[in-house]
Symmetry: C2
């Protein structure tokens, strides 16, 4: 769908959270990334070679990934100018922003002129249906969170890796722009029409009878006043057998909203289980995933131990410690064991 390899756009933003998409691709598809594009004043980096558009084309890049987020998903003047320059240099441009590239006449013209493609990942590609909540077969895990941008996608991908390493059938089901760019398909759930939120997730992870797991990427938080509707519909549509709660322990307030405090982990777990029971009465929590990127190693371990003790759930930073403790809990809760002996653990 999107031609690789990629040049990842960081632009001039100074907010590390706003380059979530570019970072996610660099982390989980490093082989697809030839470099990163940054403006001079920008100190953020993903550790990739920094290059301009023409240089990237010479290095083999096919697509500029506009992997930055802005509140409301608007295209700024700077983003538009950079996208146009990339098209002129010979790159396709892919974006996950709400505002569509195709709606900007300058970009539509530049794409046509240069014979390049504009790819808006937030355009749902399937015909959506209203959800039914009807009970369906299959094992599904959903990541939920205390807030937006706390590591739900990364956690889901780490769980996929860990389950596959033990021989389970396990598939990442993407619901956000980065996830869709990584998985190659998915449902951009915050971009669907409101009536279809739960239905779109029922379509993303339909009935499954091969014993494998659908690992569904969560979005937002039941406690985020901007996006709780999306999180609620996603939870009902996912009909999860298991949930993993994601958390960023140094966050002082809800993302983007200084007037909103963070909910406690305990409250988040209880609220998600209660909401989930509407369509999945036997749902269980199987772990807490903590984003410890802002903590020292010892602090991170202590934090996880403390959370494990208070919640009674295995707690790890899956990107740092791996997700094995969570998989162990899943095996215990669902009385399953690896179909194949892992090569080494």
């Amino acid at each position: 769908m999107i031609e690789t390899p990629y040049l990842l756009y960081l632009g001039s933003t100074s907010d590390p959270l706003s380059i979530k998409t570019s970072r996610g691709i660099a982390m989980f598809r490093p082989d697809d990334c030839v470099g990163e594009f940054v403006h001079e004043e920008n100190s953020l980096t993903l550790g990739l070679p920094q290059m301009g558009f023409s240089q990237a084309v010479q290095a083999g890049a096919k697509t500029l990934i506009l992997g930055v987020a802005s509140a409301g998903g608007a295209l700024t003047e700077e983003l538009i100018a950079d996208a146009e320059a990339a098209l002129n240099a010979g790159l396709d441009v892919a974006s996950g922003l709400h505002s569509r590239l195709r709606d900007i006449p300058r970009l539509a013209e530049a794409a046509t002129r240069n014979g390049r493609r504009l790819i808006d990942v937030r355009d749902p590609t399937m015909k959506l249906k209203v959800g039914t909540g009807a009970s369906r077969q299959g094992l599904r895990l959903l990541t939920v969170g205390t807030d937006c941008s706390v590591g739900k996608m990364v956690t889901t991908l780490c769980i996929e890796q860990a389950m596959q390493a033990r021989g389970y059938l396990a598939d990442f089901r993407a619901t956000g722009q980065t996830g869709i760019m990584i998985a190659g398909s998915g449902v951009p759930v915050d971009a669907v029409i409101a009536d279809f939120i739960s239905g779109s997730i029922e379509q993303l992870a339909p009935e499954r009878s091969d014993g494998g797991w659908d690992l569904i990427e969560g979005q937002g938080s039941l406690f985020h006043p901007s996006f709780a509707g999306v999180s609620t519909g996603l939870l009902h549509g996912a009909q999860p057998s298991a949930i993993v709660i994601c958390h960023e322990p140094t966050r002082k307030h809800m993302r983007g909203l200084p007037h909103f405090p963070m909910p406690s982990l305990e409250r988040t777990i209880a609220a998600n289980l209660e909401q989930a029971r509407l369509t999945s009465p036997d749902v269980v929590a199987v772990g807490v995933a903590v984003n410890t990127s802002m903590l020292a190693e010892k602090e991170a371990r202590d934090m996880c131990d403390k959370i494990a003790e208070t919640t009674g759930l295995p707690c790890v930073d899956p990107y740092v410690h791996g997700a094995d403790l969570i998989i162990d809990r899943i095996e215990k809760c669902f009385a399953i064991s690896p179909p194949f002996t892992p090569l080494s653990t």
Copy 2:
């Protein structure tokens, strides 16, 4: 926006709930309705003169209101054929369905050919923003419900009438297709992009300092697995000072979902208050509105008395009994009194 008077479409549906839009307009704008259009096999009626399209044009009708609902909001072959015939007869056609009239080539052509308009009420007319949940001034009441189609719009309109009759500034804020057709403006909240659910309601009922009330039409139910995401975001965006809980006591299961039982009123009240507190910590419940259309008069009174006793809230069928008991409770809770002496009570 939509030219009156109207011909109301009932078509051939046999489900009384599916003609909610046509019925709502007949109830709250009777002077704008010249008649109803039904197919022969249809026994449903709104008590209006039944007429064909040409006859309606002769009676002065300007617009056919496709006031019927179908799961998912699809346009059936029959609806399309009828809409085309109406255009050919010289009527505009207005629809609140998800599927847009303008997307049907036959209808777009017929409209052009006849010089008539196609009006899709579900196209949001304003530029939407992401919600912030920031505390805002003003008095707002939201109707919520145990299920979809239990009388939230009717209740909101009855409360508007009753408050205005006592001299309060009070404005119905529409969130659904019928409401928008009645109010002349509004936000079709189940048709907005998921990320903008709460934000669209913040825009519909912004800060207000004239002492007047915004009376916001609720949608869906926190317990309906198809639409709870919409209801959640609407509740957070409304930031209600007061909620009124709407209920249909003979409903056996959630609308359209025989596998889903109805929640109790007590659970519905508690869940809505808890969710609402995220953006409106001091929210109060001020009444229960029961749709008693399926009950005898005595049964209806007894039902309301019983609910009032168990919930501690005034309980009426506002369309039958009036909403005065609820307004009395609002005056008590908010320590307000009518700005003008009512002419007679």
